[in-house]
Symmetry: C2
Subunit: 339 residues, 2 copies
């Protein structure tokens, strides 16, 4: 079959790879209904992470179960499933505490930019729908697997409440999903930092009430102005750079939590500064599994349409163009047609 | 009157100072029923903070209102009051959000190691009792002003829940109050890091179920062992050094919050490490005012006896010996008799 391999910075290829096989009795093989490219795929693509051997790319997925290992009990061939990019047993103490992304057996999904993928820990990871969903819902269900689940976790970690004023740092796909999540959680006011018109428009569709185009100190000042000098009740940090984190910390009011889901690169916090600023932090890889049933229901009931975040669809063999389009910010998020 | 001044590292003196006066119409003057020395007083005493002019020491207080400024409405002369070490108007947006320690008008109390003290922002800061409390409750009410309020905030920020397993880093007065607070909040298991027998004993009186005498990596390993490899549901960091913070972070389970109330000295956090460890942080100067009415009630109803933390009583003119006793860890916390 065709699959996606990253050979090094800027060098991603769709090429012939072996079909995945059941390697452990807890594995499942799924046939992907669609796949996509994640903002985090750009870190190695941009050379921020060393690539020592070709990486099988792709960790967002939904599709039909083809085959299951002998220990798999909760899903069976023919069912439509969505899984998290973090693979988890969903039974260990960390999973039971709602932090499946720190599962004792945690693995990260890989090789999902392909028509078939192996899903380890299938019982703990996959959630099946009652029936096969209609085709038009596929992009929305795919979005649940990571990008929406991550935005949702940011809002959850930031403790967005009904009536909250929320600031979202980052207008990438995760930031936009953060806007949608905050809106679903009842935020009254959602301020998003964005200077790209198409992203601003989508942010508004997802529930943003205010757009801040300024960055850095000016962006912070603008958010403080919009909140009458107070700062936001909850902040979602969806980028991961030093500058974006600083904006997040100072866009927040004292006592607010910052839910941060952009993988931090070059970010440090000074303990005493954070102490006197009195801002709270909770982040990490999103425990999407915790939110999966609820988010799938919201999609199936057509309450949310997170798949609008895909603004470019490409066939799998054009995956390299997809990476370039996202890298150059020509596309927010690229959906890959795998069949 | 006599008052306490810090001239430089190791040089604290009880000497003649002018009596405090109402300087603003929002001030009150109180006659202290007792005062005490705070662990944070040791930072400048130990030379960690530069002292450019003599500092009027003391920020924990309770006593009888002597005089109030013309704008003060909520307390009157003759009433017994307790106030927070953080002075706040209790009406600004930060106060209403429960973070009075970030009040827009915030000041820090000073000069309370003396028989009389000026309390700015009296209406927002002071809470009066219905009647004059019996003498034996004075130490317990005094403890509410900072040390208990701070331990309570650590437990609140760490989100201690009924049934939680809690780890407390630090067996100083604040750590011990953290134990008491966690116990009051329903923690099922309270692990305290302590290698001092008298402090261990007091910790047990306050509700500690397990004592860890190891420090550093070994201390972390011991807490993980006690929690079957999981880590604590909530961690209270009550020291503020790099080592203690590290212990706090790694004593916590993924998804846990660390409530940190020891003023960080030389502490930095690596964003990516914290991200993948998935530990949450919230700290800062405690918004004691939020908890004051509840904590005063618990004392007045004799549900808690936080004043047990005072294991040395000295007359005010022996304040220097009090600092030395705490600095050398001969005393946990020193109560100063101000009359």
């Amino acid at each position: 079959m065709k699959g996606t391999l990253l050979y090094g910075p800027g060098d991603v290829r769709c090429e012939e790879v072996p079909e995945p096989k059941i390697l452990k009795p807890t594995d499942a093989i799924i046939r992907l209904s669609a796949s996509c490219i994640c903002g985090s795929d750009l870190w190695p693509f941009r050379g921020f992470n060393e690539v020592t051997e070709p990486l099988a790319m792709g960790h967002e997925y939904c599709g039909i179960v083809e085959e299951v290992g002998s220990d798999v009990k909760s899903v069976k061939p023919g069912q439509f499933v969505v899984g998290s990019f973090c693979l988890s047993d969903n039974t260990c103490p960390h999973c039971r505490f709602g932090f499946q992304s720190s599962c004792e057996q945690r693995e990260f999904m890989q090789g999902a930019q392909a028509p078939l993928a192996r899903v380890p820990l299938a019982d703990g990871t996959l959630v099946a729908t009652a029936e096969l969903p209609p085709d038009d819902l596929i992009p929305h269900l795919l979005a649940v697997s990571d990008v929406l689940g991550t935005g949702w976790y940011a809002a959850d970690a930031a403790r967005v409440q009904p009536g909250s004023t929320v600031a979202v740092v980052g207008d990438g796909a995760v930031g936009l999903m953060g806007v949608l999540s905050a809106s679903q959680l009842g935020a009254e006011r959602i301020i998003v930092m964005s200077r790209h018109q198409t992203r601003q428009q989508l942010a508004r569709e997802f529930g943003a009430t205010d757009i801040v185009t300024e960055r850095g100190e000016e962006g912070i000042a603008r958010i403080r102005e919009l909140t009458e000098g107070v700062g936001a009740d909850a902040v979602l940090e969806c980028v991961g750079t030093e500058q974006s984190m600083k904006q997040a910390v100072y866009a927040a009011r004292p006592g607010a939590m910052i839910g941060y889901v952009g993988v931090p690169h070059g970010v440090t916090f000074d303990g005493q500064e954070l102490f006197f600023a009195q801002r709270g932090l909770l982040g990490g890889p999103a425990p999407v599994r915790r939110f999966l049933p609820d988010l799938m229901d919201r999609v199936l009931e057509r309450k949310i349409a997170p798949g609008k975040v895909f603004d470019l669809e490409l066939p799998l063999d054009e995956v390299a163009e997809g990476y370039r389009a996202m890298d150059e910010r020509r596309a927010i998020k690229v959906l890959l047609k795998t069949s």
